[in-house]
Amino acid sequence: MSFYGLIWRLLPGPTAVKVIEAAVLVFAVVAALFIWVFPQLAPYMPFNDTTVGS
C-alpha cells in the first residue's frame, strides 16, 4: 500500500517516460501551491504585520 507507488504504476509508458511524467506532476503540484494555496495561508502567519492599528 503506497500512494506514490500507486501513482507510479498508473503512469503510462516505459520508465524513461514515467520519469518525465512524474516530474511534470511534481511541477504542477508545486505551481498550484505557490500560486493558489500559499497566498491563502500567508495572512495567518505571524510575521506579515507591519502597520500599527487594525
Binding site: M1, A42, N48, T50, T51, G53
Partner: protein, 220 residues
C-alpha cells in the same frame, strides 16, 4: 501484520509529504514573494518615473486607494533603492511596495506623513529600517517635487500604539506646525509582536525638474 505495515507506510508518506509542503511554504514565503514583489515594484517605479518625466502627465489631485503615486528612495538602503508608494495600507498594497496610511498627511504637508512597509518577505522594503541613523535621508519623489526628510529618531512600540501616527506623533492635543514623516514596520524581524517606528522631519524640498543636490544622496 500486512495491514498494519501498509497503514504505517501510508502514514509515513503523508508525514513526509507534509514536511516537504512545509519546506516549500518556507521557500515560497522567504524567497518567492521577494522575487515576485521586487519585479513588480521595479516595473511600477519605471512607470512612475516615465509618468513624472512626461510633461503631459498630470498627477491626480485625489489619490485613489491602491494607486501608486510617489517613489520612496532611501540612500542608506542602497543607491538604487526605490519603491513605489501606494495609497492605503491594505495587505494587497503592502505586498507590492510601501503603503501610505490613508488618513495621514500627504508628502510635504504639515502634519504626519506616515507609511508602512514589510521588514521581511514581499520584497521587504523596510528590511534595513533599524540601520537608519539620525539625519539619514528619506527621499519622496512625486510628479512636482522631491521631498527630503531626515531621520530624527526611532522607537519600538506595541502594534496597538496608533498615537505614532498622530499629526504630532504621540501628542494627541498638539497642533502640528511641522511636516514630519513616520515609518512603521514589524519588530523583531519575522515577528508581529512589536512595531519598529522611525520618525523623520522635512528638511528641504526641490522642484522635480531641478532634481536633488548630489550631497543629499550621499551616505555618511
Amino acid at each position: 501484520m500486512r495491514v498494519v505495515r501498509g497503514v504505517a507506510g501510508l502514514l509515513g508518506e503523508l508525514l513526509i509529504t507534509l514536511g516537504v509542503v512545509l519546506l516549500l511554504f518556507v521557500g515560497w514565503q522567504l524567497w518567492w514573494t521577494d522575487v515576485v514583489s521586487d519585479a513588480d515594484a521595479a516595473q511600477v517605479v519605471d512607470t512612475l518615473t516615465a509618468d513624472f518625466d512626461d510633461p503631459d502627465w498630470v498627477q491626480p489631485a485625489h489619490v485613489k486607494l491602491g494607486d501608486a503615486f510617489a517613489i520612496v528612495r532611501i540612500p542608506r538602503f542602497g543607491a538604487t533603492f526605490a519603491r513605489p508608494l501606494y495609497e492605503g495600507t491594505t495587505r494587497e498594497v503592502l505586498q507590492r511596495g510601501v503603503g501610505h496610511y490613508a488618513d495621514t498627511a500627504m508628502p510635504g504637508e504639515v502634519g504626519n506623513f506616515a507609511m508602512a512597509g514589510h521588514r521581511t518577505t514581499y520584497g521587504k522594503p523596510f528590511n534595513r529600517i533599524a540601520e537608519l541613523k539620525k539625519d539619514d535621508v528619506v527621499l519622496v519623489e512625486t510628479k512636482s517635487t522631491w521631498y527630503v526628510y531626515r531621520v530624527t529618531g526611532h522607537e519600538i512600540v506595541a502594534p496597538t500604539q496608533v498615537s505614532v501616527l498622530l499629526p504630532v506623533p504621540n501628542r494627541p492635543d498638539a497642533e502640528p506646525t511641522e511636516a514630519v514623516l513616520t515609518m512603521t514596520s514589524c519588530h523583531p524581524e519575522f515577528s508581529a509582536r512589536e512595531r519598529y517606528v522611525v520618525h523623520a522631519s522635512l528638511d528641504a524640498s526641490y522642484p522635480h525638474d531641478q532634481g536633488v543636490p548630489a550631497d543629499v544622496l550621499e551616505v555618511s
